[in-house]
């Protein structure tokens, strides 16, 4: 170990290291072992082991922070920072990955797509997210983002035999690459005005350049395109419904949750870091994007009949809500985004998993009508879906309410009353389309329909998401403590 890779660096990098190593192990195992049924399950075990080790590393980092009473741990000469925000987002990635890994197993068995690549990419994507959440250096962030994005391009197109999957992948890739172009162009300008790639240096350079600086703005605008694309905010949202619909459902779940969360981590870091002093520049952009996302996401969802697309549009509107947390921009706003991300993770995962449960090999069952009479056929699933939908609509006592609540809280606290009112009014619009699904599940008496694709893994995953959705709603205190990013060593 020389000075460029100290023990501290190693400690900070540990989760990503685990992910990368296990990812390679999965690939190797897949390559070496024959592709038999009995070997396949070891891939899942390896993946889960990776996540366990990653979790252990995260836990070690967390306890270290707590024991040191330190707010953060910087490594690699200030390129990586492990703080509570980073840890929080990594936990989210981890949970999402774990749930998706479990439910994907069944998908992979039925679709016959290679499992090794899938799990490997899953882990590599998470490694990319790790750098998005922890990186405070343009290069790290750019590479991490690309690692995540490229993995996702492939995952989205993982059902190679299906045209929809192909199309989704190519669309996502083209748009993703295009947006990366914008982002990198913005990064290049940032480098140009500061001469450094470290966020801290850029921040001071931006501060020196004053409030309404054109170059800062150009850099901001370009990188905003890239970042708003990743969180699927209007008008950079167009990929989301198509990619969500075309991708295999477990991937959709992972994409909608983890990739969006990672992008938010980056957005928070970048806007509050380098662009922290240019708040006056980005606030209007975010306000417009947020309101547009709320409007368009909610409106377009109303007349959707494909549940995956509907959820995609709804996730656009959720992005709008989260953006509003950033608009508020104060501590509570950031906390609000985190809370929102947390609850969004479970409810969205749950909802997409439900769609996945409806799906049968070769038969797309993603239409609202496919949910008809679910209460008769499978009351348990219907009730969990109800929980997810009520939560997505933001009605207490489910977790979704808490997320929206925090956003309102932050908006009111910072005096954005009009935005608060707009945001609240869209709750009602959203309710309307979520309850179309509810209506279908509970009120149609259509009997019959094929049995659900239910396995122990899926049931476990849905149950876990459901329970957490309820628990966070009913007793959020521990979770709120968890997302308290500042204030003492806690």
């Amino acid at each position: 170990m020389n000075q460029w890779y100290t023990a501290k660096d190693h400690f900070a990098l540990l989760p990503a290291l685990m992910l990368a190593l296990f990812g390679c192990a999965v690939l190797l195992f897949d390559f070496l072992a024959s592709r038999e049924q009995r070997h396949r399950k070891w891939l899942l075990v390896l993946t889960l082991a990776a996540l366990v080790f990653t979790g252990a590393s995260l836990f070690r980092q967390q306890t270290w922070l707590a024991s040191q009473g330190a707010a953060e741990l910087t490594a690699f000469q200030g390129s990586l920072v492990i703080d509570r925000l980073a840890l929080f987002f990594n936990w989210i990635f981890l949970i999402a990955a774990a749930i998706v890994a479990v439910v994907s197993y069944r998908f992979l068995l039925t679709s016959g797509e290679p499992m090794g690549e899938y799990y490997g990419l899953l882990l590599f994507a998470q490694a990319g997210m790790f750098f998005l959440a922890t990186g405070v250096d343009l290069i790290i962030v750019a590479v991490g983002l690309e690692l995540m994005a490229v993995s996702f391009y492939i995952l989205v197109g993982f059902s190679r035999g299906e045209k929809r999957s192909n199309e989704a992948a190519i669309k996502y890739l083209l748009l993703g690459a295009f947006s990366s172009g914008f982002l990198l162009y913005g990064f290049s300008l940032l480098y140009g005005l500061s001469g450094s790639t470290k966020f801290a240096d850029i921040a001071s350079a931006v501060t020196d350049r004053g409030v309404f600086d054109p170059i800062v703005f150009a850099a901001l605008a370009a990188s905003a395109v890239g970042m708003l694309f990743k969180i699927s905010a209007v008008p950079f949202h167009m990929w989301a419904p198509d990619a969500y619909e075309g991708a295999p459902t477990p991937v959709t779940a992972y994409l909608s949750v983890a990739s969006k969360a990672a992008a938010f981590a980056l957005l928070i870091r970048l806007l509050l870091g380098p662009f922290g002093s240019a708040r006056a520049l980005w606030e209007p952009i975010l306000i417009v994007a947020a309101v547009a996302s709320l409007t368009l996401g909610n409106l377009a969802a109303i007349s959707q009949s494909n549940v995956k697309r509907l959820l995609a549009y709804s996730s656009i509107s959720h992005a709008g809500y989260m953006l509003l947390g950033l608009v508020a921009g104060n501590e509570r706003g950031i906390q609000g985004i985190a809370v929102y991300v947390l609850v969004y993770t479970f409810m969205t995962l749950g909802a997409f998993l439900m769609v996945g449960a409806m799906e049968r090999h070769g038969v797309a069952a993603e239409d609202i009508d496919d949910f008809a009479g679910l209460m008769h056929r499978h009351p348990g699933y219907a009730l969990w879906m109800l929980v997810f939908l009520v939560s997505l609509a933001g009605i207490p006592p489910t977790a979704g309410f808490l997320g929206k609540y925090y956003i309102f809280l932050a908006l009111i606290e910072t005096g954005h009353y009009v935005l608060a009112v707009i945001a609240t009014l869209y709750v009602a619009v959203a309710l309307y389309y979520y309850f179309r699904i509810v209506r279908s599940m509970f009120l149609s008496d259509t009997a019959g329909g094929a049995p659900l694709l239910s396995g122990p893994g899926l049931r476990l995953a849905i149950g876990l998401s459901g329970v957490l959705t309820l628990v966070i709603g009913l007793y959020p205190e521990p979770f709120l403590q968890f997302v308290r990013f500042t204030g003492g060593g806690q």
């Binding site: 890779y5 000469q77 290679p114 170059i215």
Partner: protein
């Protein structure tokens, strides 16, 4: 005098390479045949490589030539051959929205121009680089290697992962299905 002539020479080279890059680019997006486009792109990339050289980025120049022109473009040509674009070449090359796109991009260009004009005055970019000391002391390549494997060790490792993913991905995607 020598200085001036060098800087004049600089300018000549700059404009030549810039023309190559931009012209190649324009050809890339306007050619009917994908092969022609690819060749134009190579020209453009070479122009860019020339610009790197003018900026004393010899290592990048090399990378550009070897990796880009030699690697990526080969890939492109390979794919062009594979997917047999004769059919595509006979069809309409531009979609219906090209004029809106053009208008928008011109708008963006105009705006960017305005922004740059306002901003450039506050940045000392309008002067040529004053110091070449760092680059002249040791070779460009060594310098890069030094920093790349020390300060930027981490992204380097990550990029290796990225490339691994890209390899797996492209192989996986391009491979015929097992069934």
């Amino acid at each position: 005098m020598a200085n001036i002539s060098i800087s004049n020479l600089d300018a000549v080279f700059f404009y030549a390479f810039a023309l190559l890059a931009v012209g190649g680019a324009i050809f890339t997006i306007t050619r009917r045949s994908a092969v022609h486009s690819a060749v134009s792109l190579i020209v453009s990339l070479l122009g860019v490589a020339g610009l790197y050289l003018l900026q004393r980025a010899e290592f990048l120049f090399a990378v550009q030539i070897v990796l880009y022109v030699g690697g990526i473009m080969l890939l492109f040509l390979f794919v062009i051959m594979l997917v047999n674009l004769d059919e595509a070449a006979r069809q309409r090359q531009f979609n219906g929205q090209w004029w809106i796109a053009l208008a928008c991009l011109l708008g963006v260009a105009a705006e960017a121009f305005l922004l740059m004009r306002r901003g450039a005055s506050s940045l000392p970019w309008s002067h040529p680089a004053s110091v070449d000391a760092a680059t002249t002391k040791t070779g460009n390549t060594e310098q890069i290697a030094d920093i790349l494997f020390s300060e930027y060790l981490l992204p380097f490792e990550v990029v290796s992962l990225l490339l691994l993913v890209a390899v797996i991905g492209s192989v996986f995607m391009a491979r015929k299905r097992a069934e």
